[in-house]
Symmetry: C2
Subunit: 156 residues, 2 copies
DNA sequence: CTAAGTGCAAAAATTTTGCAAACTA
DNA sequence: TAGTTTGCAAAATTTTTGCACTTAG
């Protein structure tokens, strides 16, 4: 059975062709891995995943492809203060922000229309036209908070 | 006239001494430059500024000191997707977020208690304990929006 | 075919680290 | 003086680039 072409796939093909470019196996594999893993992947981790199915891919291609996918609106770069970029698949008509556990690294996505509405209000106040935004909340997840409290208060 | 010791200065001295460390000219110069410049400075730019008054300072010291100032709660690292970190002086009891013009690089700071309240609500929903957050809105400032509109619509 | 894309390795750019010398308390 | 901090240069990381080779269209 021929699998229905996914949304990101159409988008990628049309973006590439429209720019007079070619659709290559590398580009397809990278995009697919990003969508399937659905996490927030650094290029290193992404490379490991993709090499399982396509061992000859190089990091240079990965970096070049990530840029392409971002331009095409299929991926988005995230920085969580680790010294490198992570990428996540971007689904159309959907935007989310992040809760990041500073202890275990867990990332939770959330969407809060009310916050976005307030952002628009702020932008209007400063005469900015919003192109994109990023809201990351760093803290301790439920699990880590409990662990921390147990092992805490050793001295002082 | 002996200048009244600034808030950040007391904070720095007490932090350093409390950790059994020493207060050096380097640390003072770096903190002072960061506070006085009051921008969002990359280490490169900060180095240029400080070298005017203290030419022998090294980048290694700058990096080490930035980390120290962040730990002391005097500075805060910001990432605006440029491939390096910028630092801003952190004033007590004050938190702000950023509006960044993607065209001219202008950065406007704002504070919106209502957004912060909603963030707390989101965190509670996911059982997170907030440690810090970052909200950056990218877009076009008033000036750049006008320029863009003028030179726009050349084809299609 | 032919221009675009890839892989490799070298280059950039930012940040970190080891260590002898300098300096603070 | 003892232990911390600095400056330098080398190393580590992440990302970019030059170029010959491969490949999609």
């Amino acid at each position: 059975m021929k699998r229905k072409q996914a949304d990101w796939q159409k988008k990628l093909v049309s973006y590439v062709h429209q720019k007079g470019g070619r659709m290559t196996r590398q580009r397809l594999e990278v995009a697919q891995a990003l969508v399937e893993e659905k996490g927030h992947m650094g290029v290193g981790a992404l490379s490991d995943v993709i090499k399982k199915r396509f061992p000859s891919i190089s990091k240079a291609t990965l970096y070049r492809t990530m840029k392409l996918l971002c331009d095409a609106g299929i991926a988005k770069a995230c920085e969580f203060g680790e010294g490198f970029l992570r990428y996540e698949a971007l689904h159309p008509e959907e935007h989310h922000d992040h809760l990041i556990c500073t202890s275990c690294g867990k990332i939770v996505e959330f969407e809060e229309k009310a916050i976005e509405a307030l952002q628009e209000a702020v932008a209007k106040r400063f005469k900015f036209e919003i192109v994109s935004h990023r809201l990351d909340i760093f803290g301790l997840c439920d699990k880590c908070r409990k662990l921390t409290n147990k092992n805490d208060t050793p001295k002082e």
